[in-house]
Symmetry: C2
Subunit: 243 residues, 2 copies
């Protein structure tokens, strides 16, 4: 690359593709910029053929790990200076990805937990069945003294339906599936809800008035990872000055 | 890459960053898919430090060509099977990029001209000053027997303002700058308007009712390139079957 290009931020994406686009848009919005040249340089490997993460964790389906490591290798071969993965379920394999990567990697779950309002004690997690079985959100919350509220079978079915509709591009249907899940978790005493799957914020956007009425903050994992990415870039001096 | 990954479609982007995201979203929407694995594999080099294309063409500013060729090299090193550039002005250097690239490259201007309604004889082009001076749209239109209507100085100023506002993330201000330009060109007899800069469709989206009232079809260069990309993938057999 020419000397003037900024360090590349590697994005291992396509899980799903719309969530990757949403992540990129959030990074762009969070970057102080008045012209193209102020923005961050991204190398986005949108690899949607990666086998389904949740099915692999729950049902022993084909492992996505070889495809994930291929993506990490691709980003490292191109000198990515940071790697992020806008897919929560893929973080089940974060240790293996970090062991493989020369570039540092952020953790989407840590970004979400850091974004929780101060003082909350009971937090629900909406995620794929695979992420729930993986258990990393429960561990991250307990390590902070927060009790995780896990969705029961009926709520999890709503969440699974919601995610599937987003992946098929049906946002209105996804919002319809999501709203009862949020309502039930609020009734069960959740003081905040982590949207721990990057498809869910796309479903939740039409529901902002509904969520505000319930009074339960929704933590957007895509936005939290975008914030962490731009913060990392700020600390490294990759942002334009004086914009 | 593992055998199951699809051929990579290389996207040389970041010119500007929001236009690249818009292009990706259009490709995703146009791809027949019910799950992640049905989508196309993209490798997106979002390189916003590339020097301003329009300034280079008009004022002899720093050439973007070395950065463009670096981007082409990056995508080729990663075995891109097709390369697209969602920036109209960058197509001033399409011959040099094609000469460098092992992968075939689509032309955004050809995609727009192919998307014009049949039978139009007078078509306006909204683009950066650089694209207008480059003249490739005028040539593409004349080669089809269509008379290009070039914006006068006042209209071009509206267009330049519109593009600058999108690059700074101010969509409402960009729409306000764009609407008089479209109205004046319609009054001058344009039967269709090519939005020949990938920022302009982002400004035009809030204006769809206004444009429909004027009765002038607006050709979206980002969407036209996305259609051409998905059509290329279909012909190559990269799309999922039976979705």
């Amino acid at each position: 690359m020419t000397a003037m290009q900024k360090p590349l931020i590697g994005v291992l994406g396509g899980m799903g593709p719309l969530a990757t686009v949403d992540f990129m848009q959030r990074v762009i919005e969070l970057t102080p910029a008045s012209r193209d040249q102020d923005h961050l340089a991204l190398l986005v490997a949108n690899l949607p053929s990666t086998p389904d993460r949740s099915t692999a964790i729950i049902d022993g389906g084909p492992s996505p790990l070889p495809a994930l490591l291929d993506g990490i290798d691709l980003l490292n071969r191109n000198d990515a200076a940071l790697i992020v993965v806008p897919c929560n379920s893929a973080h089940h394999w974060i240790d293996a990805m970090r062991a493989r990567s020369a570039a540092p990697m952020l953790h989407i779950g840590e970004a979400c937990v850091a974004a929780l309002p101060a003082g909350v004690t009971r937090v629900a997690v909406l995620a794929t069945g695979g992420t729930m079985v993986s258990g990393f959100y429960q561990t991250l919350l307990r390590n902070r003294g927060i009790t995780p509220i896990e969705p029961d079978h009926a709520v999890q079915q709503h969440v699974t339906d919601c995610i599937r509709e987003v992946k098929a591009g049906n946002i209105p249907a996804s919002a319809e599936a999501l709203s009862p899940a949020i309502r039930i978790l609020a009734e069960q005493g959740a003081e905040a809800v982590i949207m721990g799957c990057t498809e869910i914020p796309l479903a939740a956007r039409p529901l902002s008035a509904f969520a505000a009425e319930l009074g339960v903050p929704l933590i957007d994992s895509t936005l939290a990872l975008a914030h962490a990415t731009v913060d990392f870039a700020r600390e490294k001096g990759w942002l334009a000055q004086g914009v």
